[in-house]
């Protein structure tokens, strides 16, 4: 059965970081907005404090086949349900640096963004004021220009203080980690309790996930959201140059046509290109799906004589080091940027937990380790840049979903220079832990962290899918939002930049509304 509700101003596909922000801003401007979310409804009350229960927040939609030497980890990195991936994100919000926007021009590798840091800085500043980032911009000596953070930094607990000794001994710098996590009450949201349940979703609103900030605002302004609504096609007029809406399937399997003046795809870096490819749109460049990237996590672990209270603090860490960020071509090995997130709060179980850190231990040795590590464990993780490669891409599978639409296949094998950078980060990490007097030191395997690219922005229709506002080169009223727009990954967590880009796109839409629709 096909149902055709009345035409609305904007339909947004996906309720994650970008989709929720755009819904809030566009509805605030008086636009009639509908969000279509493929996953189920999540409420704050659903966010149970458990690493096991947290798995429900991760991808459980249409199957994604992963290929390549370094798969992107869709099952862990993609969210499912209200808030998307941002519902389980850890709130680490550093900015990209100036170099990140001009990697090709400066170093002859990777790609350039069609904007520079200065274009995005005002949006970073606006977002951080609205959301409330905790940090110390002066201690963060590497940070590019921008306003001071509105909240004092997150506290440092024993774990990060002990590890920071190693950085200091080696002449390196540490600062508080900039976090979208309230160090005290801000904008009617409470301060964090430092209990390390970020991965399970923060129900108190201390962490700026979509349920805490932009979805309530969108709701207040009249935006609607429909859950378990899987978009199957983007519709266009006969010319193919204007989007007219989308079709989606309801949980009951009904096919619905939703007409809209503007279509925004914010379904993350894999499902957005799948939707474009299935619709046969916006692909004059042939690059829809290309340049998929994923940061490589370089994890270093240790046991210390002192008690570390490793369960205290935010899951994303407490301190930051970006000494290996700028001058991408001056690393001891490899190419690119990385940052250390120091003193991540851990639980005993799960992939990133104490037990998971040392998978070679079993039997009585594991029992002894768990008892010791519960009080003496330390860890830090480097977020390592991944160079964009055209062959790392989302393509359509020969397998289909229950309605006959091809599923997504994602291929990702990292560039040798990116792998060498990851290896170099691990070596540096071990030296730092040694300097911090860790009595045992070990490292983890490469873990994929964040997914970016696949619908990159750029200067021309021949070399990119969208312009700098996320507007498809081929269709004026079809926008893309989210980390899929990134032409390069940088070496920082992407969510702050996703917000800044989405706010910039929204300003552009509203300013040019009549000509776009």
């Amino acid at each position: 059965m096909t149902i055709s509700p009345e035409k609305i101003d904007v339909v947004i596909v996906g309720s994650g970081a970008a989709g929720s922000l755009m819904a809030a801003k566009l509805s605030q401007a008086g636009k009639k907005v509908l969000i279509l979310e493929a996953g189920p409804e999540r409420k704050l009350q659903d966010l149970t404090s458990s690493q096991i229960h947290a798995r429900r927040l991760k991808w459980a939609g249409d199957a994604v086949t992963e290929q390549g030497a370094q798969p992107v980890g869709n099952g862990f990195n993609s969210g499912y349900g209200t808030g998307g991936s941002a519902l389980h994100h850890y709130g680490v919000w550093p900015r990209l640096h100036s170099e990140d926007f001009k990697v090709k021009s400066l170093f002859g590798k990777g790609l350039d963004w069609p904007i520079n840091y200065g274009d995005l800085q005002p949006y970073y500043d606006r977002i951080q004021q609205e959301v409330g980032i905790s940090g110390d911009h002066q201690a963060e000596v590497w940070r590019p220009d921008g306003a001071a953070y509105p909240l004092p930094p997150v506290p440092a607990f024993q774990q990060s203080e002990i590890i920071a000794r190693g950085f200091t001994k080696l002449g390196k710098t540490t600062s508080p980690l900039p976090m979208a996590l309230n160090s005290h009450e801000y904008n009617d949201r409470p301060g964090c309790l430092w209990d390390g349940w970020c991965d399970a979703g923060c129900p108190t609103k201390a962490l700026a996930n979509p349920l805490a900030v932009y979805l309530p605002e969108a709701d207040k302004q009249g935006a609607k959201i429909i859950h378990q609504a899987t978009v199957s096609r983007i519709l266009t007029d006969k010319s193919g140059k204007k989007a007219t809406g989308v079709t989606y399937r309801t949980a009951a399997g009904d096919e619905v046509t939703q007409l809209a003046g503007m279509v925004v795809l914010a379904a993350f870096a894999i499902q957005t290109p799948r939707l474009l490819l299935n619709s046969g749109l916006a692909n004059r460049s042939g690059l829809v799906g290309s340049y998929i990237m994923s940061h490589s996590a370089a994890s270093v672990f240790g046991l210390f004589e002192d008690e570390t209270a490793p369960y205290m603090g935010p899951t994303g860490g407490q301190m930051l080091n970006q000494d290996s960020y700028d001058h991408k071509d001056q690393r001891p090995q490899g190419f690119g940027s990385y940052q250390w997130m120091i003193g991540l709060a851990v639980k005993p179980n799960d992939l990133l937990g104490i037990g998971g850190s040392n998978p070679g231990l079993f039997g009585a040795k594991l029992t002894d380790f768990m008892k010791t590590a519960a009080q003496h464990f330390g860890n830090m993780t480097a977020c390592v840049e991944d160079l964009p490669l055209a062959q790392n891409r989302v393509t359509l599978s020969t397998e289909t979903d229950q309605y006959g639409l091809p599923l997504a296949t994602v291929h990702h094998s990292a560039d040798a220079a990116s792998m060498a950078l990851w290896q170099g980060a691990l070596e540096e990490g071990k030296q730092i832990f040694k300097a911090a007097d860790a009595r045992e030191i070990w490292t983890g395997p490469l873990g994929p962290m964040h997914i970016m690219g696949g619908t990159i922005m750029g200067e021309t229709a021949e070399t990119s899918v969208t312009n700098s506002y996320g507007q498809c080169h081929d269709i004026d009223n079809l926008f893309i939002a989210g980390p899929g727009l990134f032409p390069t990954s940088g070496g920082v967590n992407p969510t702050f930049t996703v917000h800044a880009l989405a706010l910039r796109s929204t300003d552009y839409m509203l300013k040019n509304w009549s000509s776009l629709t």
Binding site: Q45, T48, S49, S50, K58, Y311, K347, L351, G355, L366
Partner: protein, 190 residues
């Protein structure tokens, strides 16, 4: 309304699973299900015994924590409600074939190496076998996912059920600090 830990915290148990029993739903921890020797829903008794045997050798305490009941219960859940670590690891659902084939390969490899049933291995033999399966497929391990991967998955499951509960945190002297305790919202529709 401001949400604080105080009004979010619920009383109740730790890891609890729902079971349909005598026409009614009861909520039990995996350990309680084991104590009551409830019937398995997906695993055969033989598969459950192998899970408990190998899981407990890898993570001591996993058997009494109810590892086989935990896995059995999750295998009967819809994918989007499934809580097994496998959903992170690029294994397509449903997962019952993953466990069934791996357990059959485990039994076969033990038989080939020791000419024994797994339950008859000495502690030394089991330790040697686990050490070997961590690194590569032992002889006789066939028609199943790679042995090192199965080791990793079963170890993670066993750590979940043994160390992922409120009681287990307490035993490690780790404060649980729940915003919302898992007891009331853990159940999966049977």
């Amino acid at each position: 309304m401001k949400i604080t830990r105080r009004n979010f915290s619920l009383t109740g148990g730790a890891l609890s699973l729902s079971f349909l029993l005598n026409g009614g739903i009861i909520h039990l921890s995996p350990a309680q299900a084991k104590e009551r020797a409830l019937p398995y829903q997906t695993l055969t008794p033989g598969q459950a015994a192998l899970i408990d045997l190998l899981g407990d050798a890898i993570v001591p305490g996993a058997k009494s924590a109810g590892l086989s009941y935990y896995i059995d219960h999750q295998l009967s859940a819809e994918f989007q409600d499934n809580l097994l670590i496998l959903r992170y690891l690029r294994v397509p659902a449903p997962f019952d074939g993953f466990y069934a084939s791996s357990l059959a390969a485990f039994e076969s490899a033990i038989s080939q190496k020791y000419n024994k049933k797994p339950r008859d291995l000495t502690e030394t033999e089991m330790t040697a076998f686990i050490t070997a399966m961590m690194q590569s497929n032992p002889d006789g391990w066939q028609h199943a996912p790679p042995a090192p991967f199965f080791y990793f998955v079963l170890r993670s499951d066993a750590i979940d059920v043994t160390y992922g509960t409120m009681d287990a945190f307490d035993s490690l002297d780790i404060p649980y600090m729940a915003h919302i305790e898992p007891g009331h919202t853990w159940e999966v529709n049977p």
